[in-house]
Symmetry: C2
DNA sequence: TTGAAAGCGCTAACAG
DNA sequence: CTGTTAGCGCTTTCAA
């Protein structure tokens, strides 16, 4: 099939009249090489179009120069907008440090708990960034126990050897709730994402806290326990609007859910935002295009990804005793839905 | 840092009282292993949590079991919705055949023409899927010349050793134009994407052809030469609506462009679709949420990705003399913008 | 500033 | 059905 000539470091060495070791030194930049020798080696490399065998190099040096990114399969699709943005940031960071990125989709709550540890055992990756993991995932615990280098994206997990980059969800909820209050809303419902994600929990708790600090009651029957999913939010929020007494505002745990809730509200014959205000979270691409356009909390998703990548790469250089635990600021984006 | 015990195949062999070769046979399933021997080996593997060293295996077998996916950097973001969907399909196909996926972002029209060939030279990948490449990209030509296994996604390139999966753009344009004609539109403009992408060319040519077949004039000044980009479509389409005589329909080369054009039309004080109908292409996620929701041509993007992956994997099994050249059907999705 | 020797952990090829 | 031998192409280590 392919007709690539296979030049090895030995060929280059012979042709340049030096040993393989000298070529290796020249290539890595580690160790001295005489100017004239370097010039000759470079000339031969160019002439042959030589590319070092990455597998041999990695096997010998015990560094794969690859970082893995695990992403959950969601609704049959691999990548929602959130994941795509995060991946973008991670990849940027990796490439700028000469690492490659390998994708590892996984099914939450399924499969071998050692699934990710084994990626290290098999020397497939040097480090791992995990996006959107679930609370209590045994796989994370095992990675931490083995002191493997990994970073969590948007998942808070306070434990030794666990590093994460996340946003301040409570601040986000404060922004949202206080904005709604200022607008005169008092009957505020909350539609939550999967509580196995720390984001969902933090947002719900944040919502509760800010409401109470403002002397407002949080009605238990106005907390909807859903998932980060448009369709499920659409289904589960139905009862909120079947009564004559409905909320005058709904805070949603993310944008996809807000879209589902808005659809539900319209079908109940109510208007957004006149009858019911709705807010989202994330500021995904489509948030600006929904009808009405979403008022939401913007997360710097790509930046989160980049920071996660950089944190990991720092970890690979030298392990860090004190865990990195960054909570980035969010901002309120006011559009039309509230 | 990490404290993973490093068990090798030799350890397993010794412990199971066999040779490394027998363990290797057991692991690969190639070659016979006695039932009882197999049982003993499995027991030892489990006990040690042994994972074969992927690098050693690949170095020896000369197969990396990795396929690369090249994606163009677009507007600073790595992944637009189209790319995300395609990547999803490719990854699905790869994983189901026990291959891993590595990401290789690249800047169109920049960098070493050997950039991708070198991925093969360095044994980083066994095959490559390229998404959204530009016509005449030297990198593609070099891959083909070296007879390397690669597949193009949404890029038609008729040449030996070049395989591609694309859609029938002309059929898409027929759907769109004939729909517009049926609706009574006659003054139809076209806003094109970057003509270095074969998709853009095929859509423009298809548009022309169908218009002419229906006896309609294509006004040169109503062809806008833009790029696959919302902002640029917004800017370049301005003049279409500054005259008193404007088109009553605009066919756009993709959905992002349609969004830009709609914005422009609104700012010109016109209504969509009452004054000007607008159509897109792709049916990306947000197409259903724009205001008005987009009438567009749906491509089975994820399926394209999956087919590309499968085509590549077949190529890796045995090279194929006759190039795969699939053009998938598209369908018209009528919403509100036309 | 350079080189020789020894391996990294696995599999291909062949022999038994 | 199992084992031996000889690498794969590089880097590490030590010596010169």
């Amino acid at each position: 099939m392919s007709k690539l000539s296979k030049t090895t470091i030995a060929d280059i060495a012979r042709e340049a009249g030096v040993s393989a070791m000298t070529v290796s030194r020249f290539l890595s930049g580690k160790g001295p090489v005489a100017k004239e020798t370097a010039r000759r080696i470079q000339e031969v490399i160019d002439r042959f179009g030589y590319q070092p065998n990455y597998l041999a190099r990695s096997l010998s040096s015990k560094k794969s120069m690859v970082i893995g990114v695990t992403i959950p399969r969601i609704e049959h699709a691999l990548l929602d907008n959130y994941l795509a943005q995060a991946l973008s940031g991670i990849t940027d960071a990796a490439l700028s440090h000469d690492y490659r990125v390998m994708l590892f989709p996984f099914n939450p709550n399924e499969g071998d708990p050692n699934e990710f540890v084994n990626l290290f055992r098999s020397k497939m990756i040097d480090g791992l960034v995990m996006v959107k993991t679930l609370h209590g995932d045994e796989r994370i615990r095992l990675l931490a126990r083995h002191q493997l280098p990994f970073v969590l994206v948007n998942h808070k997990y306070y434990a030794p050897n666990v590093h994460f980059i996340d946003v301040n969800n409570e601040q986000g909820m404060r922004l949202v709730v206080e904005y709604l209050l200022k607008k005169g809303h008092r009957k505020i419902a909350f539609v939550s994402g999967d509580l196995r994600e720390t984001n969902a929990r933090d947002r719900l708790n944040g919502f509760r806290k800010v409401m109470e600090q403002n002397g407002l009651e949080v009605r238990d029957d106005w907390i909807v326990y859903g998932q980060f999913n448009r369709q499920i939010a659409y289904e589960k929020s139905a009862y909120l609007f079947s009564d004559s007494e409905h909320p005058d505002a709904v805070v949603c745990s993310d944008d996809y859910m807000a879209i589902g809730v808005i659809q539900r509200i319209k079908e109940a014959g109510l208007r957004v935002p006149e009858d019911v205000a709705v807010t989202g979270f994330d500021d995904i691409e489509i948030a600006a295009y929904t009808r009405p356009a979403l008022t939401t909390v913007r997360q710097p998703i790509e930046k989160i990804g980049r920071l996660a990548g950089e944190t990991l790469l720092r970890l690979l250089k030298k392990s860090n005793k004190t865990p990195t635990r960054r909570l980035l600021k969010v901002e309120l984006v006011v559009r039309e839905s509230a």
